[in-house]
Amino acid sequence: MLKRSLMHGARTFRVALRALGRNKMRSFLTALGIIIGVGAVIAMVSIGEGAKRGIEDRFAAMGTNLLFVSPGSRNVRGVHSGWGSFQTLTADDAAAVAELPAVMYTSPSVSTRAQVVYGNKNWSTSIQGTGARYPEVRSWEIEIGSYFDDNQVRTAAKVCVLGADVKTNLFEDEDPVGKVIRIKKIPFKILGTLKRRGESAGFGSRDDMIAIPYTTSMRRLQGIDYISSIDVRAASAAQMPEAQQQIEDLLRVRHRIAPGAEDDFQVRNMSDIAETAAESTKIMTILLGSIASISLLVGGIGIMNIMLVSVTERIREIGIRMAVGARERDILLQFLTEAIVLSLIGGLIGIGFGIGSSKLLKKIEMFASINTVVSVESVMLAFFFAAAIGIFFGFYPARKASRLDPIEALRYE
């Protein structure tokens, strides 16, 4: 029984191939709709996957044992203010957190924007005030020179380290180490430069910045006595929950928060942030994929169109087949198989086309920042979607063919 139906399937498949082979050009053009559709889905999803992989890699490089402490909302007689609206964190908080057993390094951080001048060039950039341990906390790498040390932080020294963009904009190929730039008219000695870190997802370049000791920024640039956040590297990824708990307990004591009252700070960890970022790229992938699948849908309509034409052209053939004993089901299966074969062949070529174009995309200079990753899932999805489209759009013409009256069909000119 199984053998017979397999043989029958093989025969139907052969008949379909032969019928499609009689109109090679037309079959190819019809399949082209599916080729482009499947190719587009795979290429688009690969861009989304690439972005997701890029973000994951970046977070992995930073390490998952990062925690961020930021000032929280404060409840004043029942009125909530927003996150960060109170200046509750101090450099002493950061120093105290650094002493906790589950914490490896901390760095206070403040930031501002300022105009930077070197010779006749000037540039507006972000000024980040950090502690001496910041490169270790954030996995920054020094390209040339060195970062400032604890002593320079303590004395609020007028020293700085340049991000890659600032270095390029102000110095081009010149060696900046030892040179002096002016930030808000105050001269700063350049100690070194940071390695390029690339674009962040949606937040602009991460290289357009200058790092200075946070004490310098607070006292000399901003005139403030609070810090905007404490970046913490826990002793290990496994000790993250412990570190978070210790930080919360410590800060509640230091800030004299009564039991039951709300925190005036918040502690977020890197994996939460990474998850949020992954979520947003997933949405992008879905969006790109669904736009591309519209072209697959259009390809399906092309199949339906050609199959309808084909049925009309072959009415006589259908009549002959019915006269020699084809049942409705046989005719239905024959035309359905043709539609499915068209969409599957289109799907297979489309997979090659999609993988090829996503590889090509990586090679083109203009799209250098786009990373593409072709996943097995996206290939399978596109292929089965193509097959489903063949069945869906092939069914109506096939049914039309199978419902023909044999007498009329035989007489059809």
């Binding site: 017979r4 043989m7 025969r11 008949v15 009689r22 006589r316 053939e317 009549g319 002959i320 087949r321 019915m322 006269a323 020699v324 004993g325 084809a326 049942r327 409705e328 089901r329 046989d330 044999p406 007498i407 035989l410």
Partner: protein, 229 residues
């Protein structure tokens, strides 16, 4: 004692062309013995085509009975009728009705595509059928490379493939010259005499009808006359 392969009892067919009622057959009763050779004659509109369609199980009568090989087939559903066409009936048409751009062999094999028989010897069977009509050496020619007479012989080979009890020929020589026509009729005669296949043929040419052993004449949906040799 030859049994009746076909028995028609008060067969009627009515259809509507728009609002107009057409009584194509108005009570035809007739029996055809197995191994007979019958010609159906009559002017156009007499109901010959309708009768052929019903005999060929392509259409069902409005009323009356049609017993084919002892089985009442007038009430069968489309799938059962398709099966009977496949197993018991061979068709030969005026315009050959072969698949275009397809080899003679594949055309002959066509009925086997819709039979449940084992497909291992399809080519062999098709070749035997082609040999029976003298076309074995042209089996790989495409339809359009064959002459009219050859195309009709391919059609006969196709009709023979499932060893039918009955061959229905609708104006089989209508598109052929007289010499080719007698070739075709000779094949029919041989099949009828040697293989005992029942032949039923619609024609309006009396010299073609003369090949048959019996002739019936239709007029306005009724059999008006029968002639026997």
């Amino acid at each position: 004692m030859p049994h009746n392969i076909i028995e028609l009892r008060d067969l009627a067919k009515t259809y509507y062309m728009g609002e107009t009622r057409v009584d194509a057959l108005r009570g035809v009763s007739y029996a055809i013995e197995g191994g007979d050779f019958l010609a159906i004659m009559g002017p156009s509109g007499s109901g010959k085509s309708t009768l052929m369609n019903i005999l060929g199980c392509l259409d069902r009568p409005s009323s009356g009975q049609y017993l084919l090989d002892g089985e009442e087939v007038s009430k069968l559903d489309k799938n059962r009728l398709a099966r009977i066409r496949n197993q018991k009936i061979g068709f030969v048409f005026q315009s050959y009705n072969l698949l275009a751009r397809t080899s003679a062999l594949e055309n002959v094999e066509l009925p086997l595509l819709y039979s449940s028989v084992n497909g291992n010897d399809t080519t062999e069977r098709a070749m035997r059928a082609l040999a029976a009509v003298g076309l074995a050496e042209r089996s790989h020619h495409k339809t359009n490379q064959l002459s009219g007479g050859e195309q009709q012989r391919v059609a006969i080979a196709r009709a023979l493939l499932n060893d039918p009890a009955l061959i229905l020929a609708d104006e089989p020589t209508g598109n052929l010259d007289s010499r080719t026509s007698s070739d075709i009729m000779n094949i029919f005669k041989t099949l009828n005499e040697e293989k005992k296949i029942t032949m039923i043929m619609v024609t309006h040419e009396s010299d073609i009808a003369a090949w048959a052993r019996k002739r019936i004449y239709l007029l306005d949906g009724l059999i008006v006359r029968e002639e026997r040799d």
